[in-house]
Amino acid sequence: MASYDLVVIGGGPGGYVAAIRAAQLGMSVACVEKRATLGGTCLNVGCIPSKALLDSSELFSVIGHQAAKHGIKVPAPQLDLASMLGRKDKVVKELTSGVAFLLKKNKIDVLHGAGKVSGSGQVAVDLASGGTSNLTCKHILLATGSEPINLPFLPFDGKTIVSSTEALTFDKVPDHLILVGAGYIGLELGSVWKRLGSRVTVVEYLPRILAIADAEMATLLHKSLEKQGMVFQLGTKVTGATPEKNGVTLRCEADGKPVNIKGDKVLVCVGRKAYTQGLGLESVGLVPDSRTGQLAVDANYQTQVAGIYAVGDLIAGPMLAHKAEDEGVAFAERLAGQKTHVDHATIPSVIYTWPELSSVGRHEEELKAAGIAYKTGKYAFKANARAKCMDEEDGLVKILADASTDRVLGVHIFGPRASDLIAEAVTIMEFRGSSEDIIRICHAHPTLSEVTREAAMAVHKRAIHA
């Protein structure tokens, strides 16, 4: 019977990072992972493969549509989907091997199999290689993440009604891909297949896309995606699907009237749910929330059962890999007696469509609802020198600052490399900076980051290049 200070169930960003940090802090750690590869949803069927395909398909699109503007003459590019998917798989493999190496380097025992809590300080692992392994430990960290929500009236069948996992491995480009849900996962994957040649229709229940984003920014993305050829059916309820010979007909309702959409694949992206199946929580009296499936934890990430902890998608907060990572670190450090704290208010979020959409802090609707007086500063990429050189002129940066203290309350970026540009805003907000601070910091020229600076100037109505 192997004994450890900490056993982590789940080798995704929350789990493996917590394991490494705990090992760095001197604890003996074991990590249990159900998949053959580490890295969780993020590395295997989430962030990484989707970004690899997004970058590849974006390149395909740029070569096909924008190369000529640069004076580069290419005939219409041909897609070798197998190779593109192969490259994606290679990237995933490199990264998952990398995680395995990190755990090994930190002397963390990795067990591949399904782990479950079998008692207080007890973890039983159904090994993939056969047999069972029983571990005793002082602390158990649950980091099993989440899975796509399966709609009861439109259940996944792995072939025609699919989740994001399958949408990363289509063997051919669908003729017509129907997306259910205009959230970030759907829009990203929809972008991939649109660029590779699919017709894409997005069906969304609400009258707008990206319910949690700033309305103005969401509208900008919406218009851009429409210009790229995506068709949107907003305010439309999905009621079911009828299988067809070569695909499916999605049955919907809009304004009380039936709408039928025919396509070859339906990608359902209506959100994700915490994954606690088979974890043996009942054996220790832990009950997840009936609606979200998540576990309640205290400031030390400890659940209601002493010695059992949880981080990442299993607990409240944005379901983001970096949030899980930060919590993994915070959990391990707090276990070691430190006072680390994860501030949800400064967790950035990114949507990897092109142009990208990123944000940190609050958006205008939230500030209005909270009755907070704020000032706005906006600046378009169109007026930025680097954006012009890159031929990437769509988008803008919007900064929201407190009307009296000038503290930055939210930054929203729609444009090229928004995913990287948001880091400056996160740093400023972490230091409780003001828009004037952004102005008084030197930004290299010519860079896209100058858009952020001019937007900060615009808060004070003194943009220089406008």
Partner: protein, 396 residues
């Protein structure tokens, strides 16, 4: 046994770096753990500690690209008795560096504009850093404080705790700023000169000794020196009216009245309330007037009208122990009489050395309209009247 110094692993996926700087020299004795060289990689630049104690031998020179694990130096065995001075000479002198402000850029900007010391403000930023709104709050609370409660001398006393050197920075009150402006402009505009003399105070002191009780009883105010001096100034001004004059553009205005300003030191700074028509006042009126004005000034109840006008000023540094000084004139006036401490000194009287209570007198004057003859004459007249008070009575 010689120990090799190797390039350590500083991060996963880092396989090489540049040995950017040797912190210690070949032949230098170093201790285990002393920083010995600087390694620059893609990720960071860091100081690498010595693995052992001994004498350093450099193998790879500065600026070379090195692989992780490469031998860059050797340590020959040898005990070193103390921290080698050479190490500290080559290591950067950190202690001399000034502590940089961690206030945010905007906070620093506003603080510089408003003359605020950010190290004196509580910070509400990350880890207690001072951010823009903290400085803004400090600025508005400063504006809300009325001039009467602004810095006084005791507030500027810096208490020095062991080993910590700091400075106290306090905003000048509006009053003090105005005083400062006026003093500087006085020096700037007038050609100020000072002429000195001395007065034997024994006559006045004898009079005071003789009559102070009955004076107090009759007038309810003490018989001080000021009555004598104001009256002496009146006499001198009659003889030398230019000292009582002022310049207005290209004109010289000579009033036929004498409003004497009496400099009073208050907690808030120097104030000069004015005794109007001093040439028409009696001893008692002068003394009482001065007492009233001094009390008003110290209580902060002086009005602007009290401070305005004035054709001449008397200042007394003697109460603080000043032996001799060169007062600055109070614009737009052209003269100021400085009284000083009374000190028993040996002086020659009728060719005899005697001890007399002496006071040095100073008259600073604006040489643009008062020439030396008038200034000296004025002061001599003051001296004469002070040394022989009966001359005031006889107007001689």
């Amino acid at each position: 046994m010689t120990i090799e110094i190797k390039v350590p692993s500083v991060g996963e996926s880092v396989t090489e770096g540049v040995l950017s700087r040797w912190i210690c020299k070949s032949g230098q004795g170093i201790k285990a753990g002393d920083p010995v060289f600087e390694l620059e990689t893609d990720k960071a630049s860091q100081e690498i500690p010595s693995p052992a104690e001994g004498i350093l031998e450099i193998v790879v020179p500065e600026g070379e690209k090195v692989l992780v694990g490469a031998v860059v130096g050797r340590i020959a065995p040898g005990k070193i008795s103390s921290v080698v001075p050479a190490a500290s000479a080559s290591a950067p002198v950190v202690s001399a560096q000034p502590v940089l402000s961690t206030a945010s850029p905007a906070a620093r900007q506003i603080a510089a504009e408003q003359g605020i010391d950010t190290s004196k403000i509580a910070g509400s930023g990350r880890d207690g850093r001072v951010i823009k709104e903290d400085v803004q709050a400090a600025v508005s609370s400063q504006k809300a404080v009325p001039a009467s409660t602004a810095s006084t001398a005791p507030a500027n006393v810096v208490v020095r705790s062991s080993g910590v050197r700091s400075e106290n920075r306090t905003r000048m009150s509006t009053l003090r700023q105005r005083i400062a402006e006026r003093l500087v402009s006085a020096q700037h505009n007038a050609a100020i000169l000072t002429t000195f003399n001395e007065a034997d105070m024994s006559a006045i002191m004898a009079l005071r000794a003789k009559y102070k009780d009955s004076f107090q009883k009759k007038y309810g105010v003490g018989l001080g020196f000021m009555g004598f001096f104001v009256k002496a100034v009146v006499e001198a001004a009659r003889a030398f009216p230019t000292v009582n004059a002022r310049i207005d553009g290209t004109d010289v205005i000579t009033p036929d009245y004498l409003d004497v300003g009496v400099a009073v030191s208050t907690g808030k700074g120097l104030m000069v309330p004015v005794l109007r028509d001093a040439d028409k006042l009696s001893f008692a009126q002068i003394e009482k007037g001065i007492v009233d004005l001094a009390v008003k000034a110290r209580d902060g109840k002086i009005s602007v009208a009290d401070l305005q006008g004035g054709t001449f000023t008397i200042t007394n540094g003697g109460v603080f122990g000043s032996l001799l000084s060169t007062p600055i004139i109070n614009p737009p006036q052209s003269g100021i009489l400085g009284m000083h401490t009374i000190q028993k000194r040996p002086v020659a009287v009728d060719d005899q050395v005697v001890i007399r209570p002496m006071m040095y007198l100073a008259l600073s004057y604006d040489h643009r309209i008062i020439d030396g003859r008038e200034a000296v004459g004025f002061l001599v007249r003051v001296k004469e009247c002070v040394e022989n008070p009966e001359r005031l009575m006889l107007e001689i």
